[in-house]
């Protein structure tokens, strides 16, 4: 593991984003560049994994090792990577559909294993890549091409979802506050364990006007300004329950006593059990005696 002096530019790849001009993800990727520069791990020691969706294109726009995988499966793949090489800095990103619809079943399990990775969900309350269908975080009543008469289901609350399964770091950010978002992403990466940031990253093409970055600038309220103590998990639940009504940004919860990570426990087990038969003599354990 090495840390070196790096700048945002070291993390920007030559690929030109396919995102629509005005997309919230442009800000998010800049925030990631800057957070990574500040962390100081060189790009080749970073694995950036995503699912499918507009936001899942993000690894390609960085110079890290990227893996743009299949819809909803970024977390399991990222855990495999982290287990295979615990020294890597592993980032996972995707949209709300990727994380809380098709891949929703993987989130609790990633949390209960507590691998040291950071999961960034770019939540825009809509399916953008497939042209504006209802997403798991779309508000009830929202009219989309698949809910032309208004959605009759209620949205998933990503913050409560992740908090309730015991994630050690839960935050929300918006690219309307680049400095704040960058600081949150950096803090999430530095948290030793599973960390989650719900980034409210608006869809400029299909999103609602009141959910655009411009609207965020006036709507957002930082948890710090409200005097929230991020070690207070119960208060975090209460604040998180306002998802969809209030745009709170900052750290809802940070476990003040992070438990051992999955990777640390794996290493411990490997060390405790080291020294079996050499691989080429593996069959000897089946010999009849």
């Amino acid at each position: 593991m090495t840390t070196v002096q790096l700048t945002s530019k070291d993390f920007k790849s030559n690929l030109k984003p396919i995102w629509c001009p005005g997309c919230g993800d442009f800000g998010v990727v800049q925030g990631i560049y800057r957070a990574l520069a500040s962390i100081g791990r060189p790009p080749h020691e970073i694995a950036f994994v995503s699912g499918i969706g507009c936001s899942s294109r993000i690894p390609g726009y960085t110079t890290a090792y990227g893996f743009n995988t299949v819809h909803g499966r970024a977390l399991p793949i990222a855990q495999g990577i982290k287990l295979a090489n615990p020294e890597l800095l592993v980032l996972v990103a995707g949209g709300d559909g990727d994380g809380f619809s098709i891949g929703g079943g993987h989130v609790p399990h990633a949390i209960r294993r507590n691998p040291d990775l950071t999961y960034l969900v770019m939540d825009n309350q809509i399916y953008g890549l497939t042209k504006g269908q209802l997403s798991p975080t779309s508000a009830c009543g929202l009219k989309t091409v698949t809910s032309p008469h208004g959605a009759i289901e209620h949205p998933v609350n990503p913050l409560l979802y992740v908090l309730s399964y015991g994630a050690g770091f839960v935050a929300q950010a918006t690219p309307a506050d680049m400095a704040g978002m960058t600081a949150i992403i950096e803090e999430a990466i530095r948290y030793p364990g599973f960390s989650f940031v719900n980034v409210q990253s608006p869809c400029v093409t299909y999103g609602e006007d009141h959910q655009q970055v411009k609207a965020h600038r006036t709507a957002m309220k930082t948890l710090a300004s409200m005097g929230h103590d991020p070690s207070d998990r119960m208060r975090a639940f209460e604040l998180a329950s306002h998802y969809g009504e209030q745009l709170y940004t900052g750290v809802f919860y940070r476990n003040p006593n992070p438990p051992p990570t999955y990777g640390a426990l794996v290493k411990e087990r490997q060390a405790a059990l080291a020294g079996g038969l050499p691989r080429e003599r593996i069959l000897e354990s089946f010999i009849q005696r």
């Binding site: 790009p43 080749h44 090792y65 399991p76 990577i81 287990l83 059990l273 593996i282 069959l283 354990s285």
Partner: protein
């Protein structure tokens, strides 16, 4: 009654014992003891288990085959049938076939008269209604010791390694108490005594073997697959429990840590293969294992591994399907799935082992192919091989080459392109941590560098590359076993567990003077047209024998090879095992038909 009344057969060189009872009877434990004892004495032995669907207490059965020379399959019609109750025995149907030659031993308390056995008109000559429970109670103070009595009966009647069985009994119960050891010793001896007092019409002692047991192993296919994966350098396994593949994950969960590896028991089948794909991306040899329904779930991820050109070994231990089907029984009905499931133009090599021993070679080969060609490789095992225990002679692992993925050299990293066009189609593969090797792996089509593209031209070029790199596989003669008479007009083709049955059938017909041959492909897909074409050149009649309703390999051959008109498909749904004798009879019939056709043609001429 004295032994003088017995007529004496030459000692048997092969004995097939089938036993059934309910789970509480411990009939499978008895089988385990028997095979362990046989192995210790130097016999070749094999045991298959079959169960009802209950977790505990349902019907259970096992077949134990013991021979003085190498065994290829669990045997056909039983030489000995043991029924602790008839309902359970009969539930196994064709899995426990009996004939009039079968020695039938059953619990007297079932109150079935020896001449009224519910065997569908088969009337065995040697039938013993043994008060097994009563003997157990008297000897051991509990009728739970039934299975120990059964071992005594078998040892007594067939001279089956009594000393070794006794050693096994002692070892097993020593952990509990001296009293238990003593009681079971008594139960075992009572069984022997009963057998001696009630001899067979014709004694059938098993011939003794004199061979060294040094290095002799006893294990099942799933353990072999897992151990072989470690030999091949596997460092990661991701999976989800599913019968009958779970023992692979169980073995690795115990052992892989010793080698710096890890197992992830995932939340579902998709996450299991996903984690394995991730570990491979991170540079580690990795594997997942499942059965048909799990394979369906994993399929999308196979597409990802194919387009991202990531090495991965995927084991499908086949069971009866579709859907939950027959989860505890073997079938060969997932070949189409293995070859054709998934989206897009894609080619994945598929390998099939034919026995527990063969599972070692096939697993190592699968890792080698996966790493060398940077592709997912499927192993199609089946419930029989995976869960059958057999003696395996010492394997000289130094004979097996272990290949690793080709990583870029320092010079190549200066201007690295992950999917660089090469003559072989194989591009050096980097992994995170390797400076200069940074690239984007993706499910989306990409150019040489790895950058996403929607260009039809590049897509065509990349498809061509991904297929071209696998071309050499179709010329791997060593992935095909050809046995018998090279220019024979009669042929069998079989794969997986059925190949072992056909090996025996071939030996039988050749012993009776027929000219015949057998082709056993390890490589099922891609179809090696040339190998089949050469093999079939002399063939006028033959059978592709498969344990499935459709006969999937036969249909795939019809797609890609000019198969002679006389080559037919012999199929049967899973859990209805083929018998070596019946396939031999089919071949004999084909030979007769050929003969008459020749004479007909002569007549016409």
């Amino acid at each position: 009654m004295t032994t003088q009344t017995e007529s004496m057969h030459p000692p048997a060189t092969d004995l097939v014992i089938g036993m059934a009872g309910s789970g509480g009877d411990g009939i499978v434990s008895a089988g385990e003891s028997l095979i362990a004892a046989a192995a210790a004495e130097g016999y070749h032995a094999m045991m298959t288990k079959s169960f009802g669907s209950q977790i505990r207490g349902g019907e259970s059965s096992c077949r134990v085959r013991i021979g003085t020379s190498a065994l290829h399959n669990p045997g056909g019609i039983l030489d000995v049938a043991v029924a602790l109750n008839w309902e359970d025995f009969l539930r196994f149907g064709a899995e426990l076939p009996v004939s009039s030659q079968t020695v039938v031993i059953y619990e007297k308390a079932t109150n079935v008269a020896p001449d009224q056995l519910p065997l569908g008109g088969v009337h065995p000559t040697d039938v013993f209604a043994v008060p097994i429970e009563e003997i157990a109670r008297k000897a051991a103070g509990t009728d739970l010791a039934k299975n120990t009595v059964v071992l005594g009966l078998l040892a007594g009647w067939f001279d089956l390694a009594p000393d070794a069985i006794l050693r096994g009994i002692r070892k097993r119960f020593a952990k509990k108490s001296a009293e238990l050891v003593q009681n079971n010793e008594k139960a075992f001896q009572s069984g022997i005594d009963y057998a001696k007092a009630n001899p067979l019409r014709q004694a059938r002692p098993l011939a003794r073997v004199s061979r060294s047991t040094a290095g002799l192993m006893l294990l099942d296919g799933n353990d072999m697959c897992a151990a072989a994966s470690l030999f091949a350098g596997c460092e990661f396994f991701g999976g989800y429990p599913i019968t009958p593949s779970t023992e692979i994950m169980q073995y690795l969960s115990r052992e892989i840590w010793r080698y710096g590896g890890a197992v992830l028991q995932a939340e579902d089948e998709i996450a299991g293969i996903g984690a394995a794909v991730g570990a491979s991306f991170a540079g580690k040899k990795s594997m997942t294992a499942t059965s048909g329904p799990g394979m369906s779930l994993k399929t999308e991820m196979l597409g990802l591994a194919s387009i991202a050109e990531l090495p991965l070994v995927v084991v499908n231990v086949m069971r009866g399907g579709p859907s939950t089907g027959l989860p505890t029984k073997p079938e060969q009905s997932d070949l189409f799935q293995a070859a054709f499931s998934g989206h897009g133009d894609v080619l994945r090599p598929i390998l099939a082992p034919t026995s527990v021993a063969d599972t070692f070679r096939v697993t190592v080969e699968a890792f080698n192919l996966a790493e060398h060609y940077q592709t997912p490789v499927m192993i199609l095992s089946d419930q029989e091989i995976a869960q059958r225990k057999e003696t395996v002679d010492a394997i000289d692992t130094s004979r097996f080459e272990v290949l690793h993925r080709r990583v870029p050299t320092g010079a190549e990293l200066e201007s690295y392109e992950r999917f660089r066009a090469t003559e072989s189609g194989i591009s050096p593969i980097s992994h995170p941590g390797m400076q200069g090797g940074n690239y984007l792996a993706a499910g989306i089509e990409h150019n040489d560098k790895g950058d996403p593209t929607v260009s039809g031209k590049i897509h065509a070029r990349m498809n061509e590359k991904r297929f071209r790199k696998l071309d050499p596989l179709r010329h791997r003669q060593d992935l095909f076993a050809i046995e018998g008479d090279a220019d024979a007009p009669l042929a069998l083709i079989a794969w997986g567990s059925v190949a072992g049955v056909c090996r025996e059938s071939l030996a039988r017909v050749r012993a009776s003077g027929l000219r015949a041959k057998l082709l056993v492909p390890t490589l099922l897909w891609p179809i090696a047209e040339g190998v089949y074409q050469d093999f079939l050149a002399s063939v006028q009649a033959g059978l592709v024998v498969e344990l499935s309703h459709q006969g999937q390999l036969y249909r795939m051959l019809r797609m890609q090879v000019d198969v002679p008109r006389g080559l037919k498909s012999l199929t049967r749904s899973g859990a209805n095992p083929f018998l070596p004798s019946e396939i031999a009879q089919r071949l004999e019939q084909l030979a007769i038909d050929l003969q008459s056709r020749v004479s007909d043609q002569k007549g016409e001429g």
